[in-house]
């Protein structure tokens, strides 16, 4: 068949398909497109014919464009984030954490190990703090948690608007750290390991030093509440990063690129959970931890309850499959 006859015969079909594509591209939920897959495969057949018969580049290229657009509409990854969020929070995220327990364990050991290790070291050898942190940072820390000040260092009277400031600041700062800890895992896991260790070192040093000089009460009652979410989140972000790195070190039977892609797909879900944790942590930190009216005992109790809540959530949520899933 000559090309002009071929074009003449199918032109109407192509124009109609173009209309369908435009509707789909404009509105993802367009209706009345039941015969779209069939039409798309007709166009595919026309393209194959045009190539096989050596028709001109213009015709083949335009058909190719239509097929590409159709392909993008027909095979697009449909996700309904709204419907999945609840299932993710209630079951999928803790399940994923348990499934990746090796990386979570490794990351927790690095992070909490260095945290506790340096806290004890600094507590036993007080001078060590000046080797680990610049002196002015140490004095900043001291003035922030000075029990004589009677509040948590930032201002005499914290207005509600100031809680806002701190909320925004915590979100930016903490999620930034979590993202860094995760992303640098791509360097064969070394980056994540470094950030886990380093953050553990800083927090541990501060904790050990403040406890040693007798500011423990203000410090611990301040951090225990949001620490449950914040520290766990950092460890989980590190675990996600270690997973990336491990896929490069030991890809198994897959090519490294492919192994990385599969690992990354899981890691990014972990990161979504981490963001959720940090959001909660920032909220607690700005609105609960900074309150000075509750006694330290109350704060310790609430803090312990929050730690138990996080542990219970990660260990037990989603173990039983419910009918609607």
């Amino acid at each position: 068949m000559k090309q002009s006859l071929f074009e003449h015969r199918h032109m109407a079909e192509w124009e109609q398909f173009d209309g369908l594509l435009q509707r789909l591209e404009g509105d993802r939920n367009a209706t009345g497109l039941d015969n779209f897959p069939g039409d798309y495969r007709r166009i595919c057949q026309h393209l194959a014919l045009a190539r096989e018969r050596g028709y001109s580049s213009f015709l083949i290229d335009s058909l190719q464009q239509q097929v590409l657009r159709g392909h993008q509409q027909l095979y697009r990854h449909r996700s309904r984030p709204g419907a999945n969020v609840l299932a993710f929070i209630l079951a999928d995220f803790p399940r994923l954490v348990r499934e990746q327990w090796r990386f979570v364990l490794a990351a927790s050991l690095m992070f909490f190990g260095s945290l506790i290790g340096f806290a004890v070291l600094v507590y036993l050898f007080p001078d060590l703090v000046y080797n680990l942190m610049p002196a002015e940072q140490v004095s900043d820390m001291q003035s922030m948690y000075d029990p004589q000040a009677g509040h948590l260092g930032r201002s005499v009277e914290r207005a509600a608007s100031e809680d806002w400031v701190m909320f925004g600041y915590y979100i930016m700062h903490n999620i930034g750290i979590a993202f860094q800890t995760f992303a640098s895992g791509l360097l064969f896991g070394l980056g994540s390991a470094f950030f886990l260790f380093y953050n553990g070192l800083i927090i541990g040093t501060v904790a050990g030093h403040l406890t040693q000089i007798g500011y423990g009460q203000t410090f611990w009652s301040f951090v225990i509440g949001h620490g449950a979410f914040e520290l766990t989140a950092i460890a989980l972000a590190g675990a996600a990063g270690l997973k990336l790195g491990w896929a490069l070190i030991a890809p198994g039977r897959l090519p490294r690129g492919e192994a990385l892609r599969l690992a990354a797909r899981k890691s990014v879900l972990l990161i979504c959970g981490v963001m959720l944790f940090l959001l909660i942590a920032a909220f607690i930190e700005a609105y609960w931890s900074s309150m000075t009216t509750p006694t330290p005992q109350t704060k310790y109790l609430v803090g312990a309850a929050l730690w138990l809540l996080v542990a219970g959530y990660l260990l037990f949520a989603g173990r039983v499959r419910h009918a609607p899933e």
């Binding site: 190539r51 580049s57 464009q65 990854h77 806002w164 925004g168 892609r261």
Partner: protein
């Protein structure tokens, strides 16, 4: 693809020299995508960077008038702009951040389908590693050595930055009486002659004649008439208008 259509069956295919990235669809069609190289992507990123700087600058001016509340909002917004700008544009605007749109690029999954939330988040989070140790060094190395111009974030997320398809204008074939070719044409030759006729408007007359003169001998015409002869054959292949 079509270059190989004229080869005898079972001939080994030589890999094409150009940068096209073939996606085979479930329908058995090979779709060529055109991955965008380092330079054009760097330009697109520079545009995005400038735009972000502008947005943040404006925000600072507005929020500094709001005082404390403004500061809280400000750090939330800095966070949103610095980590989510790319993700939001890529997912909600068909894979195009403003810089990419400007440069005629878009991001797709490497099977040619539109990019989703998780892939976009991943490729933009891992940008942090591409930036190391300074000025996109790792990203540039990875981009230059990978056939699809992928930076590390693209490899992990399975994404590809390609040139957007533009609508093709219908080319005008030069007028000539339709003719039969003097010998049987292979598919590749047929495509070449049609291509010569379709793209003639983009070439100078001298170049057209020069190209056509190469074929004067097999067509058995004097060199000056070869172009007209080829146009005639193209008309003949295309069929009556």
């Amino acid at each position: 693809m079509f270059e190989t259509a004229a080869l005898p069956r079972k001939a080994t295919l030589s890999p094409p020299l150009d940068t096209r990235y073939q996606v085979e669809t479930p329908e058995g069609i090979d779709l060529p995508l055109r991955p965008a190289g380092l330079m054009v992507r760097a330009l697109a990123f520079a545009i995005d960077l400038a735009l972000r700087g502008l947005i943040l600058g404006l925000l600072f001016v507005v929020l500094s008038m709001l005082g404390k509340l403004g500061m809280g909002l400000g750090s939330l917004l800095i966070f949103a702009v610095s980590w989510w700008y790319m993700v939001l544009f890529e997912v909600l605007n068909q894979g195009r951040s403003p810089g990419k749109q400007w440069m005629g690029l878009r991001v797709v999954q490497d099977d040619g389908t539109p990019i989703g939330w998780s892939a976009s988040l991943l490729r933009n989070l891992l940008r942090f590693v591409d930036l190391l140790p300074f000025g996109y060094f790792l990203g540039a190395i990875s981009c230059l050595q990978s056939p699809g111009f992928k930076r590390l974030g693209d490899i992990a997320a399975g994404t590809l930055v390609i040139y957007r398809e533009r609508p093709l204008p219908r080319p005008q074939l030069p007028p000539a009486p339709p003719r039969h070719p003097p010998f049987k044409l292979t598919l590749t030759e047929q495509r070449a002659i049609l291509g010569f006729a379709e793209r003639q408007a983009e070439l100078s007359d001298a170049r057209v004649n020069e190209l056509a003169a190469i074929l004067a001998q097999p067509l058995q015409v004097p060199a000056p008439q070869a172009a007209a002869e080829l146009n005639g054959i193209a008309r003949g292949l295309l069929g009556p208008a």
